[in-house]
Amino acid sequence: MAQTSANVKKGDHVQHHFVDSDQQFESAKMGMWIFLVTEILFFGGLFLAYIVFRSWYPELYLMASDHLDTFWGAVNTVVLIGSSLTVAMAIRSAQLNQQKGLIINLAITIALACIFMVIKYFEYTHKFDLGIYPGAYYAYDGIAHDKANIFFSIYYMMTGLHGIHVLIGIGLMIWLIVRARKGHFHSEYYTPVEITGLYWHLVDIIWIFLFPLLYLID
């Protein structure tokens, strides 16, 4: 299975306190999963704020979500699902020692993530133009509800924090490409690709929930 180029490097990546490569790989993966647990609860706090205020002011959510563009939200969902697919393909490439496939898939992922951010940017600036700012700076009178600022505070916090996670993901992906070009990854060692992939899928999952909760309230 392993190619000759991989054989040369074999074993180099095993740190001294691990018995073998598998133990190290499984440890890293478990560590990442535990970290994802913290991410889920981190966003969980925002979902809690969302749920509490929605239970108090259901009509506010109906009115306010009209001002979010379902079309672009749906496009962004498709973009992120596509990027999840390419990350999964990148891991597959690494597992099969396909250097080129790995780099190409990572590059497509970065491109999709950038598209996501660009769309987000236009959504944000459109709202700013209308005067839809969070909290105290809210200055839009198109929504007949006195708590409209709270909805958009929650909206900006959720999508903003998610956006920051996308940016971090882009950074990680660039780092992976740099390392992949140096030939660091092969079928015996692709841990960073795997755990970055896990992180990226979680970012996708969070968006999968944000999309219907924010955009699809009819």
Partner: protein, 577 residues
């Protein structure tokens, strides 16, 4: 050579490895120099760096407490203004909770002991471990900046809307604590993975020490609760920076929601602080009673039960905050449940001592103090958990006394016990037993003199966080202040003899307490990679009925593939495992 069955799959050839009496090369003599220390990934050195940091913060927080107590000698203002008083109690609380109590046992003692008790060379992610230390330092720097650029007067709970509107540099402080949270999370991730993946051959889940079980439970709380604190503080920061209004009633938000957010972390955080202390108690009680721990699984699982129930009770901090009566009743009921696993633990510890061969060395003395003080703290907690009583006692000195009995009488006593217990292992030096016992007694007396009067004046209605008070409370306040001075003297004695021990203490043998636990089966202090062999475990850590020779078994050589040239060896071990 003895052959023994260590797992149901493979038989291992093991032999006895006696720990070296006078090790030439230890982790303290290898890789010295400031740069080597600062960039070390060795869990023992990182543990010591944490230890030095938390002791520094303990000193700062303690000094602040003495300032507060001195101000309270008289009912009127004596030497600090009311605003300064508010800032000082905020800092005392924030520093003691976030910079001392939370990292004290897990990050300092736990970092040092955990891999030793697992027989592995390091934690699973050594670089992440170092990172967590530097994140802690960065968080501390942010807090210091906050102190010197306006201070914070919100109390350590940062309740909105006051924290969103008051002057000072609340944002810097909350960011500091936010950053600190990552350090806590990374330690938790590291410990869980290490306990899962890096146990020695033969070390099944029923053969790891109860200290590890408690660290495991603590780590679970850390990873589940800390992110909620992070989002809380982030929202609070945004509240101040952008006035997002989620917690601000003036903008349509809800301040009680902030308290839900905050206490969802901060109540479990109380268990982050105390549960590792429980682990230390289990270790020390068994060692100094020379007896198998009573109810191993009961103690191990009650740690997990406390971790779980701890997540269900946060609302008992909010009985008077305006939450619904239904929530009040549910939280009050759930709060009583915490008493069950805690009671199970106390029962098992006392049962361990029953008919044991008890040796009242300093660590054991601290644990006796722990049992006594923690019981008082625990029972008064049950009283505060009942709704009607809490309405009267809420935000009085009764509450202050309660959590100091739990946190200081419980946690700090356990920490001091653990510090004395593992001191010989850490530095290879013994401390002066006589002065250590004196200090323990002085602290015990000083502690009770400080906080018992607070129960009394609290139940008489003395509110907490007040700068002035009615003259009728002066006697209690004075007793409390003098007690705090005695407490301070006790800590100075400790500092003196520990420093003396470091500089010219007697050399410690590898196993001064005759313990069966794994960390004592290597030299004191341990070598850079903990063990020169791969330890193999066939007995539990409390099996005092088995001979010492059965606790020092291992496989020849360090088979963990250390260094490039040893890689070929790894293959043969894989076959063994």
């Amino acid at each position: 050579m003895a052959t023994s069955e260590t797992s149901n799959i493979k038989r291992l050839q093991v032999r006895r490895f006696k720990p070296e009496e006078n090790p030439k090369s230890t982790y303290l003599t290898e890789e010295t120099g400031i740069w080597a220390w600062m960039t070390t990934v060795d869990h023992k050195k990182i543990g010591l760096m944490y230890l030095a940091s938390i002791l520094f913060f303990f000193f700062v927080g303690g000094t602040l407490a003495l300032l507060l107590r001195t101000e309270l000698l008289t009912p009127a203002q004596s030497f600090i203004t009311a605003d300064t008083y508010n800032q000082i109690f905020t800092l005392h609380g924030a520093i003691m909770v976030f910079f001392f109590l939370v990292p004290s046992v897990p990050a300092a003692l736990g970092n040092f002991v955990l891999p030793l008790q697992l027989g592995c060379k390091d934690v699973a992610f050594p670089r992440v471990n170092l990172l967590s230390y530097y994140i802690y330092v960065i968080g501390a720097v942010f807090t210091l900046i906050a102190i010197f650029t306006g201070g914070v007067d919100t109390g350590w709970t940062f309740y909105t809307p006051y924290s969103a509107t008051t002057g000072g540099n609340v944002m810097m402080m909350t960011l500091g604590v936010f950053i600190l949270g990552f350090s806590s999370i990374l330690t938790g991730v590291n410990f869980i993975v290490t306990i899962h993946r890096l146990r020695s051959p033969g070390q099944t889940w029923n053969k790891i020490s109860l200290f590890l079980w408690s660290l495991y439970a603590t780590s679970i709380i850390q990873i589940l609760a800390t992110p909620v604190l992070a989002i809380t503080l982030l929202l609070l920061t945004m509240e101040r920076a952008l006035h997002i209004g989620i917690f601000d009633p003036a903008l349509g938000g809800d301040p009680v929601l902030y308290q839900h957010f905050f206490w969802f972390y901060s109540h479990p955080a109380v268990y982050i602080m105390i549960v590792p202390g429980f682990g230390i108690v289990s270790e020390i009680i068994s060692t100094f009673s020379r007896k198998h721990i009573f109810g191993y699984w009961a103690i191990a699982l009650s740690s997990l039960a406390i971790a779980f129930i701890g997540f269900l009770v946060w609302g008992h901090h909010m009985f008077t905050a305006g939450q619904s009566s239904l929530a009040n009743m549910v939280f009050s009921f759930l709060t009583f449940l915490v008493g069950i696993p805690t009671g199970i633990k106390i029962f098992n510890w006392v049962a361990t001592m029953y008919k044991g061969s008890i040796d009242m060395k300093t660590p054991m003395l601290y644990i006796m103090a722990f049992l006594f003080l923690f019981m008082i703290g625990g029972f008064t907690g049950i009283m505060l958990g009942s709704l009607a009583v809490d309405i009267h006692l809420h935000d009085t000195y009764y509450v202050v006394a309660h959590f100091h009995y739990v946190m200081m009488g419980g946690m700090v006593m356990a920490f001091l016990g653990g510090l004395h217990y593992w001191w010989p292992k850490m530095f290879g030096k013994m401390y002066n037993e006589f002065w250590a016992r004196i200090a323990c007694v002085v602290i015990f007396i000083g502690f009770n003199l400080t906080f018992l009067p607070q129960f009394v004046m609290g139940s008489m209605g003395m509110p907490r966080r007040y700068f002035n008070y009615l003259e009728q409370f002066q006697g209690y306040h004075q007793a409390s202040t003098y007690g705090s001075y005695i407490l301070g003297i006790g800590f100075l004695i400790i500092a003196a003899y520990l420093l003396h021990s470091l500089l010219r203490g007697k050399k410690a043998p590898p196993n001064p307490w005759g313990s069966r636990a794994m960390e004592w089966q290597t030299s004191s202090p341990p070598s850079l990679h903990n063990y020169e062999h791969t330890p193999v475990v066939i007995n539990g850590p409390y099996d005092y009925h088995k001979p010492m020779s059965e606790f020092q078994l291992g496989i020849e050589g360090s088979h963990n593939g250390h260094g490039e040239h040893q890689h070929t060896e790894t293959k043969t071990v894989e076959a063994d495992k």
